[in-house]
Amino acid sequence: MTSVGTRTGLPEGATGLGHSGATRTAHRIFVVRELGILLALVLLITVTAVTNSRFLSSQSVKDLLLGSTILAILAVGQAIVIITRNVDLSVGSILGLSAFATGSLFLAAPAVPIPVALLVGAVLGATCGAVDGGLIAAARVPALVVTLGTLYVFRGLDYTVATGKQINAADMPVGFLRMGTATVLGVPVLTMFAAAIVVAAGFYLRSYRSGRELYAIGSDPDAARLSGIPVGRRVFAAFATSGALAGLAGVLYAARFGTLDANAGLGSELNVVAAVVVGGVAIFGGSGSVYGAALGAVLLTTIGAALPVLGINPFWQRAAVGALILAAIGLDRALAVRVAIRLKGRKARG
């Protein structure tokens, strides 16, 4: 805020007086949101580590990172969708479908290279996401309803393909399973993969026109249409991306757990939405970042790992997640009210 001095030196009656305060507040909100999650994460880890030093052992950290990976990738896709004022409830089912498809692929052709498997998963997921996005854009039905429907459709497809079978780790190539647990310098390969996705998505949303248009659509869909933004196409792309990431996450799920049935990822969509909301992405779109969403995923996973270590009843784990969501929404609301009061005061003066 280096220009505050010049700004307050404006002649009487000029607009812009008092704007710097609001700008500062806006910046602070951004910093507070992501920093707040990070702080909560550090606090949780510290308290848990003090109680039980083995919580920070390299194996336990590795487990934690691996555990967050899949949720974080899903959260990135979900954040992109929620930023456009939509929601994708079908991601858990897409993950399940893709995971089982990966297992089947390796059963049929064990020699398939890993990148091809990743590609197949992503394309399968993108196709599912395209179905979601197509229905939403063409039929103009709210995403909540469409993806609630496809949640069941994709899962049903999964059951039909699986027909009650289970694919075991023994049926999968060793190289593929090793990818699920391999580490470089103590950091799991899967986590690096997820981190790369987060950074790429964050970079895209921040620095590309079409990325900024996603925020514009979520901020005011009607205004976006009037500004000539291809709203339908962008929303379609957001859902295809979310689907592709869910498909990718399915492949990683197969690599990590090895044992697959039709229930992979069952119910994970609500976890994903929770991670995104806790991560500071506004549920009505227009603001938030994939970094926050990924941090939210790490935080939720850490809570899941830390509470048993702290000797807390698993029941409270769910309650803690619920409380966090309410706290995140409460924080958003409190900040909004503060900004409103600030602006109201300004209006009375001007």
């Binding site: 220009s3 590309y208 000539g228 227009g286």
Partner: protein, 504 residues
């Protein structure tokens, strides 16, 4: 005569069975400011949306620089150099001012990345050209309407718009802000652009525009040079009939004090506001936008809380912060923003009209539909609401008719005190006169009317007394015969010391 920059000929557009535009002709020449006037529902907004590429005309042709042109979407219109500033701002509240200006056209650097530095710099340059100071980094959320319009104008400048369409840009602006908007519009016009200006305020139309096109019922009526026209002629063409009088104020005898506001204070918003309104009286609350007028009436009505002071209705003290108590005591509020605060847009006309009386119309807690319908019928007839069916959603009505529904809703409660916040904002001349006649009639019947208005002719024409607010304080009180547009404006801009008004 040179070739027109943009010409529409024989343009028609229908929505279902409703013909919104019928065989419209419009020619816009470089370097002119052109006014488009007509009652609400005359088709101006549809025409704007055709120019903006939002609607595709059913028939007719459009030419730009003599070449035929067709828009398949807003992006095409923009590419052709047409910028539209809508009545309702179309900014993205979560994004920064600079991003709002350059959305979709952000300056790029390597790898087709957005260049935030260049974007901020160019935004600052645009604001300097406009002679205003806005922080390009602040979010658009919380900007005043005037500042939002400046952002829209900066957007138009940023892509060198040759045709700037402004749809009632001054409806929510104060005098200073209107002047600034006009100086920008004039400089654009002098630089060879076309400014198409839509407004209900004739003084502004005549001050800015060289030519005036009148529309009525979706059809073109006339286009003439402004200097050959008078306000009366324009109004007659718009309504197609004589407007008897825009301000039919009846003289009435003030009766007992019905509303008594004493020392009302809300920290940081308004302070020490005291006034009375008698039965049979219309009192206008004037002032610039942001002076705190709406906030005062909201506090009086119990929507907002206040820190000090009291409100008495017919001598009885109202509990603060309770709109229910205010309604029970006989207060009625016609709010400033009828779309968001006055009506439930998705509900039917009759449901809206009876909303404030749903308890007295129900039996054992169950709303009786027949009673509701009968009651709504009575009031909508008295107010001459033009609706195809009373069961239609209120959102299908024109702005003027929506306002009549809001009035019907409150008048059916038989209020002792009616507070009307900007009762005629954005409604056409014919309906405006009807609303004025209605307010006058109510006062004659003994109702105490408190009217917040930003339109000085309305304030002067309608009020028995004028209260002027400036920066949260009541600075002047004037009787009807002493109030002039000049004296009210003087007080509203903070020059209260010049007169000898008896401010309370």
């Amino acid at each position: 005569m040179p070739e027109p920059m943009l010409a529409l000929s024989g343009v028609s557009k229908s929505f279902g069975a409703v013909a919104a535009l019928r065989d419209v002709h419009l020619e816009l020449y470089a370097g002119e400011a052109h006014a488009l006037v007509g009652e609400n529902g005359a088709g101006k907004s549809t025409l704007v949306k055709v120019l903006a590429g939002v609607h595709t005309p059913d028939t007719g042709t459009m030419t730009l620089d003599g070449a035929p042109i067709a828009f398949s979407g807003p992006a095409d219109a923009r590419a052709a150099g047409i910028a539209v500033i809508y009545q309702e701002p179309t900014l993205f509240p979560d994004l920064s001012v600079a991003e709002n200006i350059f959305m979709g056209r952000q300056p790029l650097r390597g790898l087709r990345r957005i260049d935030p530095g260049a974007m901020r710099r160019r935004a600052t340059e645009l604001f300097t050209r406009l002679g205003v100071h806005l922080d390009p980094d602040r979010p658009a959320r919380g900007l005043s309407i005037a500042d939002q319009q400046l952002v829209e104008i900066a957007k138009a400048l940023s892509f060198e718009a040759r045709i700037l369409v402004m749809d009632e840009p001054t409806a929510a602006l104060s005098g200073v802000e209107v002047d600034r908007l006009f100086s920008v519009a004039r400089s654009l016009r002098d630089a060879g652009a076309v400014v198409l200006f839509i407004s209900h305020r004739f003084d502004e139309v005549f001050a800015l525009c060289q030519r005036i096109t009148v529309m009525r019922d979706g059809a073109w009526v006339s286009t003439d040079a402004a200097k050959d026209l008078t306000v009366d002629q324009v109004v007659r063409r718009m309504v197609g009939r004589e407007v008897s009088s825009l301000y039919p104020k009846q003289d009435t005898q003030p009766r007992d004090v019905l509303l008594d506001v004493r020392g009302l204070t809300s920290h940081g918003v308004f302070s020490d506001v005291s006034f009375t309104v008698r039965g049979g009286e219309i009192v206008a609350l004037a002032g610039l936008v942001g002076a705190g007028r709406s906030e005062v009436v909201r506090a009086v009505f119990g929507i907002d809380r206040y820190d000090r002071g009291e409100v008495l209705v017919a001598g009885e003290r109202l509990p603060p912060g309770s709109a229910a108590a205010a309604i029970a005591a006989g207060l009625a509020l016609v709010p400033e923003d009828r779309r968001q605060q006055g009506l439930v847009m998705a509900l039917s006309v009759e449901r809206n009209a009876t909303l404030a009386r749903r308890w007295s119309l129900s039996h054992l807690g169950i709303l009786r539909r027949a009673a509701e319908r009968r009651d709504a019928g009575t009031w909508t007839r008295r107010l001459q609401v033009k609706a195809a069916r009373l069961s239609d959603p209120v959102s299908t009505l024109s702005g003027g008719n929506q306002q009549k529904v809001v009035l019907a809703k409150w008048l059916s409660t038989k209020p002792r005190v009616l507070i009307a916040d900007e009762p005629t904002r954005g409604i056409d001349v014919g309906t405006k006169a009807e609303v004025h006649r209605l307010l006058s009639q109510l006062a004659a019947d003994g109702v105490a009317v408190l009217m917040v208005s930003s339109e000085l002719p309305e304030v002067i024409g309608m009020a028995d007394r004028v209260l002027v607010m400036h920066e949260g304080r009541l600075v002047r009180e004037m009787e009807r015969d002493r109030a002039t547009e000049e004296s009210v404006m003087f007080a509203a801009t903070g020059h209260a010391g010049t007169g000898h008004g008896d401010a309370t």
